[in-house]
């Protein structure tokens, strides 16, 4: 059971109040029409699926409903760091950024 300190409401709550929202760095391409089928499939489906420290998006669904980031060890389940989108840039290290932008309202 993860106990997650929400950076917005400030309280530490059980994991079932939260929703896992995918990799932190993955940003939606701004012009999908210009991508090849392979690039689009890569954005939609290919995952780093990291063993070890992984940066993830989470939402406090049954609380304040805010999105934020967690760096988590996928083997030990330890929370290394919890942060807001303002604190850590979501630039994609793999270069998808050149054709992308954030798809959530900032």
């Amino acid at each position: 059971m993860l106990r997650i300190p929400c950076p917005f409401c400030g309280s530490t709550r059980d994991e079932d109040e939260f929703t896992f929202g995918g990799p932190y760095d993955r940003v939606r391409p701004s012009a999908p029409g210009q991508l090849s089928d392979e690039q689009w499939a890569d954005y939609l489906f290919t995952r780093d699926n990291v063993r070890g420290r992984s940066r993830e998006r989470w939402r406090h669904t049954f609380g304040c409903r805010q999105w934020f980031g967690i760096e988590r060890d996928t083997v030990s389940h330890a929370l290394v760091r919890v942060f807001t989108f303002d604190e850590v840039s979501r630039d994609d290290e793999q270069g998808n950024r050149i054709i992308g932008g954030l798809h959530e309202a900032v």
């Binding site: 059971m1 896992f20 499939a41 939609l44 290919t46 995952r47 063993r51 389940h77």
Partner: protein, 416 residues
């Protein structure tokens, strides 16, 4: 290999069973093999067995980082069925069921297959419509399926709460009578023994730490005990597929999550066959030892830690008590989790990879056990001939770009 029979049992009884030969040998790895298979679970061992038996490729090593069948092969709930929806899947899984039906004889190893049926429940009219469609679809493909009304369900599984006052009243269901369960360890051990007998080296406690490449071609593997050269390499490591793929320089459309299962204390026979409820969300059977075997949804976030989390466990047990209120007095004896490799369309990814001479068996998600014989058979063909077996042509990695999914999310039985 010593042939197992009534007579061998009687003969060894005379020596108090002290002179049985080990079922397979413990080998030291050679420096070079034709094929190295990474992963000593059911899929890897079956691939090795069929490579040797069907294609005469015997210079093969199976490398396992722990012990044989210690991953998902030994952690699943052993359901074997072929009631998928699309033709690509039913062809594939029906072939597996047929191989399972003859497997004890084929391997001379009792896998304890018992075909008592798999029942899928509907709790509302929309689900009944869905099950009618599903059952019609597979009957048209020649797979056995039968719709059951409430009275037939009561006959099949009297322990189910079929009253109208249940929280989610059952209104009907459909059954595949040839579906069943088998002993998972025996499947792994039987294939290991068969492969060893044909000359395959089975090497346990041998973790692969890197892949040797030459340009875009695989050359071998590095292990904790040294380098092993290989003409061809097969990755069959379930939840760790992404880790191995990264060693070869590519990424997979795979998410690794924990899937839990649990057993109660053993009780007298009360369930015949397997029951799945996609709505309340659990599947339940009774093992040969009498334990009630329970599974449910996968955990809600990625994990490589082989243990489950409490919320999924709680939901699964609450669902089970919805179906079987009488089980509330049972004590849980054990609970565990395996790391399953979930693909975007809940169908496996099998065959060639972007790297020359590197093959992969992944995306099994929550249902790899039932596909062990056919997964091994078709992947062995693919490795030996360097082209996909016709049964697995639809399961190539390229389907995510072309859009030809084989979406079996519903037939997988549980959410993930």
């Amino acid at each position: 290999m010593e042939h197992y029979s009534f007579w061998s049992l009687a003969k060894h009884a005379l020596s108090n069973h002290r002179t049985w030969m080990p079922a397979w040998h413990s080998r030291e790895p050679k420096s070079r093999y034709d094929v190295v298979i990474v992963g000593g679970g059911g899929q890897g061992l079956a691939t090795a067995y069929y490579l040797a038996k069907n294609h005469g490729v015997t210079n093969v090593a199976v490398l396992e980082k722990g012990w044989l069948g210690g991953g998902n092969t030994g952690r699943n709930t052993t359901a074997i069925r072929s009631n998928y929806f699309y033709r690509e899947s039913t062809n594939f899984f029906e072939r597996s069921l047929q191989l399972y039906e003859g497997l004890s004889r084929e391997l001379n190893y009792n896998i304890m297959l018992s075909q008592h049926g798999a029942l899928t429940l509907a709790h509302n009219p929309h689900q009944m419509d869905g099950l009618e469609r599903w059952s019609n679809s597979i009957q048209l493909q020649g797979i056995d399926a039968q719709m059951l009304d409430l009275n037939q369900i009561r006959d099949f599984m009297p322990a189910l709460d079929t009253s109208a006052t249940a929280r989610y009243p059952i209104i009907g269901g459909f059954i595949q009578r040839r579906a069943g369960v088998a002993r998972h360890d025996a499947v792994a051990w039987g294939y290991a023994r068969g492969a060893d007998n044909l000359g395959v080296d089975i090497i346990q406690n041998c973790e692969v730490t890197a892949l040797r490449m030459n340009g875009n071609r695989i050359r071998g593997v590095e292990t904790k005990t040294g380098v092993i050269e290989a003409d061809k390499v097969v990755i069959a490591v379930a939840g760790h597929s992404s880790v191995l793929a990264r060693m070869a320089g590519f990424s997979l459309p795979i998410n690794s999550v924990a899937l839990q299962a649990m057993v109660s204390e053993p009780i007298k026979p009360v369930l015949e066959g397997l029951v799945v409820s996609p709505l309340v969300h659990c599947y339940v059977s009774q093992s040969d030892r009498g334990e009630i075997l329970i599974g449910g949804r996968a955990d809600a976030y990625p994990s490589y830690g082989q243990r489950g989390t409490l919320p999924a466990l709680e939901e699964t047990l609450s669902a089970t008590l919805n179906l079987f209120p009488t089980f509330s007095r049972l004590k849980l004896m054990r609970q565990w989790a395996g790391i399953v490799d979930i693909s975007p369309d809940s169908s496996p990814i099998l065959g060639k990879t972007p790297v020359t001479a590197l093959y992969i068996s992944t995306g099994w998600g929550t249902g790899g056990f039932k596909a062990i014989p056919v997964g091994g058979e078709t992947l062995a063909y693919t490795v030996a001939n360097d082209r996909p077996h016709p049964l697995i042509e639809p399961f190539g990695m390229d389907r995510f770009a072309t859009g030809r999914f084989v979406n079996e999310a519903a037939a997988a039985g549980v959410d993930h």
